[in-house]
Symmetry: D2
Subunit: 337 residues, 4 copies
Amino acid sequence: MNKVRVGIIGAGRIGKIHADNLLRMGEAEVVAISDLCVSDELMAWASARGIGMVTSDSSEVIAHPDVDAIYICSSTDTHVPLIIQSAEAGKHVFCEKPVSMDVNRTREALEAVKKAGVKLQIGFNRRFDHNFKRLRQLVAEDRIGMPHLVKITSRDPNPPSPAYIQVSGGIFMDMAIHDFDMARYLSGSEVDTVFAQGAVLVDPVIGELGDYDTAVITLTFDNGALAVIDNSRRAVYGYDQRVEVFGSRGAVSAENDYPNTVTLSDETGVVRDKPLHFFLERYNEAYMEETKMFIDSVLHNRPLPVEGYDGLQAELIALAAKQSAKLGRPIRLSELT
Amino acid sequence: MNKVRVGIIGAGRIGKIHADNLLRMGEAEVVAISDLCVSDELMAWASARGIGMVTSDSSEVIAHPDVDAIYICSSTDTHVPLIIQSAEAGKHVFCEKPVSMDVNRTREALEAVKKAGVKLQIGFNRRFDHNFKRLRQLVAEDRIGMPHLVKITSRDPNPPSPAYIQVSGGIFMDMAIHDFDMARYLSGSEVDTVFAQGAVLVDPVIGELGDYDTAVITLTFDNGALAVIDNSRRAVYGYDQRVEVFGSRGAVSAENDYPNTVTLSDETGVVRDKPLHFFLERYNEAYMEETKMFIDSVLHNRPLPVEGYDGLQAELIALAAKQSAKLGRPIRLSELT
Amino acid sequence: MNKVRVGIIGAGRIGKIHADNLLRMGEAEVVAISDLCVSDELMAWASARGIGMVTSDSSEVIAHPDVDAIYICSSTDTHVPLIIQSAEAGKHVFCEKPVSMDVNRTREALEAVKKAGVKLQIGFNRRFDHNFKRLRQLVAEDRIGMPHLVKITSRDPNPPSPAYIQVSGGIFMDMAIHDFDMARYLSGSEVDTVFAQGAVLVDPVIGELGDYDTAVITLTFDNGALAVIDNSRRAVYGYDQRVEVFGSRGAVSAENDYPNTVTLSDETGVVRDKPLHFFLERYNEAYMEETKMFIDSVLHNRPLPVEGYDGLQAELIALAAKQSAKLGRPIRLSELT
Amino acid sequence: MNKVRVGIIGAGRIGKIHADNLLRMGEAEVVAISDLCVSDELMAWASARGIGMVTSDSSEVIAHPDVDAIYICSSTDTHVPLIIQSAEAGKHVFCEKPVSMDVNRTREALEAVKKAGVKLQIGFNRRFDHNFKRLRQLVAEDRIGMPHLVKITSRDPNPPSPAYIQVSGGIFMDMAIHDFDMARYLSGSEVDTVFAQGAVLVDPVIGELGDYDTAVITLTFDNGALAVIDNSRRAVYGYDQRVEVFGSRGAVSAENDYPNTVTLSDETGVVRDKPLHFFLERYNEAYMEETKMFIDSVLHNRPLPVEGYDGLQAELIALAAKQSAKLGRPIRLSELT
């Protein structure tokens, strides 16, 4: 194999981003794409990119004899059956997070992947961000000694629609799950207990739907370290994505990314533009990087940077956070099994 | 009265700082100082400053007919009796934090102060820091809308001695208490629940003494806002004192203070000096400011910037944090009464 | 026309960058490329990109009936004849800077372009940099009032080879020419006088070749404003590209770009990585932007963002700087005609 | 001698600052002060500080038998006669800059000082600024290798009154003189040539008075290094005092000082307060430091940090700058003797 031929399931925003990133690589080809709704627009989009098959039936993409790997970019409830179907067809899988909202279903998917001997990468794209990657590198090089505390600020510019909130799995499963993965990635340890404090401060509608829009989550790790994450569905000043790790011999800190480095100084003060607006701008390169790593892993049989197991762990933490916020007490991950 | 004549109890580091700050003001005079040990060095120090009375008996300072106000800078266990004695003698009081480690004793002190109609200011000096004062001003001017989350990073450069740890009242009462006051000051609301997660990561001796050296504390406020505080007894990169407040219409953030603004760029990167070393450097001006405010309040009968009630509330939160860390569950402040 | 079909002359580093950027655009196509040396590597490179013609004869590219526009990326001495030849063939031209090292030859090229009624854009890519573009926008929006001083720091990480120095036209024509264009762009005025101070501090070999490696240049503008530029052939701490504009009502300042926002704090201080290494990293997006603007201008007959006249003016300033450094006195641009 | 007893000539703003700084030191005493106008306010001010002699006759201060050292804080035209008179009376001298506007007169003063064997420190207070001191230290420790370029930004918030402009000696002698001293201090070398470009952009009245309000000055040093300074009489965004030094192995850069580290992020961007307003705020500590060094030098016969020679050199550079701006050509310092 000198090229990985990819089939994409789900032609929404994220599916198209993956398609374009794959098309920019010499080592990948996109041969098929499916979506529940095959519009003229989608036909034209696929045609301009030389994608041969456009279908409303994801099974056709998986069954396509030229397809080596599947990108699952459809809604969360479809992830597990599609992973299992792909694995059984001997196809490698890249799946958006979360794998599912039911950890037992996720475990089934992982079991199928293991049995089939295919690869499964989870779309925790933030691991590939230039800032967080550098931060992880410094921690891994032992530049700060033993990690004591991971601190993650993760705030979205605006809340999603109520319709989305309803199917999202809640703030912990939908939004904080990225931060749970980041905490594991940076601490190099597994989570022991979770304490989550949720609040409805941004929009009462979110509360009426049984969800929170603001949260603070404390984690403890097996190695004794701590993590603290704060989330908000609305940061009017822009997408706020910062991480710090404090260790026995130093600390590392990643600031936000900005569209430019310009400051304007006048009689009122010194002002700069807001941070990059949202995840598409901020994690633009990170999407490219995660796909490069996946294709490289498939092509050269190298280890994956984020495995199915990482998806499962993040889901377990999210589940614990949800219970903790509801019950008002810390939850041990071991309680969930 | 056109000058406040002050008597100081306790001639340790902090007592001397207050003395020198008082001596730099036109509106104050230091007429007496007491310390358990009246050394030749102390006699010389007092003489060079024209302080007439130096004694080992704090009662003499309180009873001194020229003394209008008492600065209590002695060990914590002496605070309550000295406040009561001063109040009964009709003297105004400035007392270092915490008032005591027993909230009922603190309440007695406050009762005596109320009955005597004197003023009692607590030494929460950080409220007077140029950064945090500016931050509070922006919040109070409604520049960020309704506060949603207060986030406080508070890390000391090095742990105190084991001997100090033993009498300190623990990390929550000794160190985090400043942050509890800051959280109340910035949120403009009272604390409802406290969840504290403690760890021993810096020095096992601290654990053997029954204390923590690392902590993450989550607070909820009556107005629905949240706060999160992280503490460490050791930050090898320097005293780390940062605060952020996130609100419905914006956020404010205060960075550390540095000894200079110089960066050195060479083949290895861009480097600047560490932040100001510790509280004496960082809060140097804040000590001056708090004393200015106290003297001004006494002289012109203006409201105090930090009252006895603020001391009591911070102690209650510290007590709740201690219980929370021990019991592994959130504690409501209302459980403590 | 719904696509601009491009022929590229010169398949060096910069020619290939333009090719790849053109290939990423829907509105452009690359149909031919020429280079003095048609290697197997070049054939493979062109084939992978679907470029039909690869030739050692630039005339074939210009004469190609499908070619609408020519990118001139060959050595500086070939620019003028190729511009004239392209113009006479009715082809639009994008030409790298400088047009030539002889302003009279440059004038001939401009004359030919004018006569033929084609477009000529000069490769002053820095105008398209995200930072400088934002800075220009703020000046143009009158956010700083009347510009008083433009200040440009422009320092390369390492000097080029002696062989390159010899044919480069010298530090003013080769390196500072970008800054001369930036000064005109930001001040919105034409240069009146030039005073250049050159020095050989980096490498004596550069001095032996009759060039400088360090320079400070002061410009005065017709509108009374001033500019000051400092150049060095070696900045060991990384590519240093910063600009400030001071005006009657404020100032704008653009800092360097960095590969990440991470800082590491330890006992020695707070350190971050060096700025982006060199022009390919720093101006990566700017190259894309300038090509987008050129293609857009050709396709929709819109005004060019940088014209031949801009190339001529920058050359005149460079020439004046060269004379000023040699004669040790300010030179008026009007002396050069 | 275990205390330096000081007499101050000139009770304006700067004279009073020096007095208060001296009074805060254990090793100094202020015994006399003179001013052309001995007001009731001055009498009260002196009385509150225990200053025994207040007089309108500077000779009485110099002749006072208890006075060891004279601070000359009167108008520039009085500096030379007062230095000579003080030196002849065997008194050490601290003199504000510039010594005079006539370098030959300055030489006379230096001669008298030398003959009398007393000390003369010039008030180049910026050498004692925490930022510039750190910067000099890094250069002196050879952290950036051989200095290639010193770059100084020095811009005042607002122009002085026309009356002051008239007696100021002009922008180069009054304002840039600090920067000329800084350039010598940081480069560790003497100036060879000066090229100054002046402009009137802030206020035409300044031009009518024969002065400039905006300037860019290029210096060359004996060791081959360059310096560039930009000055403005108006920076509406606050006092702008920044310095950079670029060397063969690195660069150092000192940013402005700010009143706090707070940023406010909202929908419009990220804003912080303006830099510290003017020299009294910015160089507050530096005034204290220079006086500490002077007193220490007198008391313990240690070398002065800024000598009369430094004052003379800065004046020579200012004179050269004035001529350069007028004649429109670079001036060598050697032309001036």
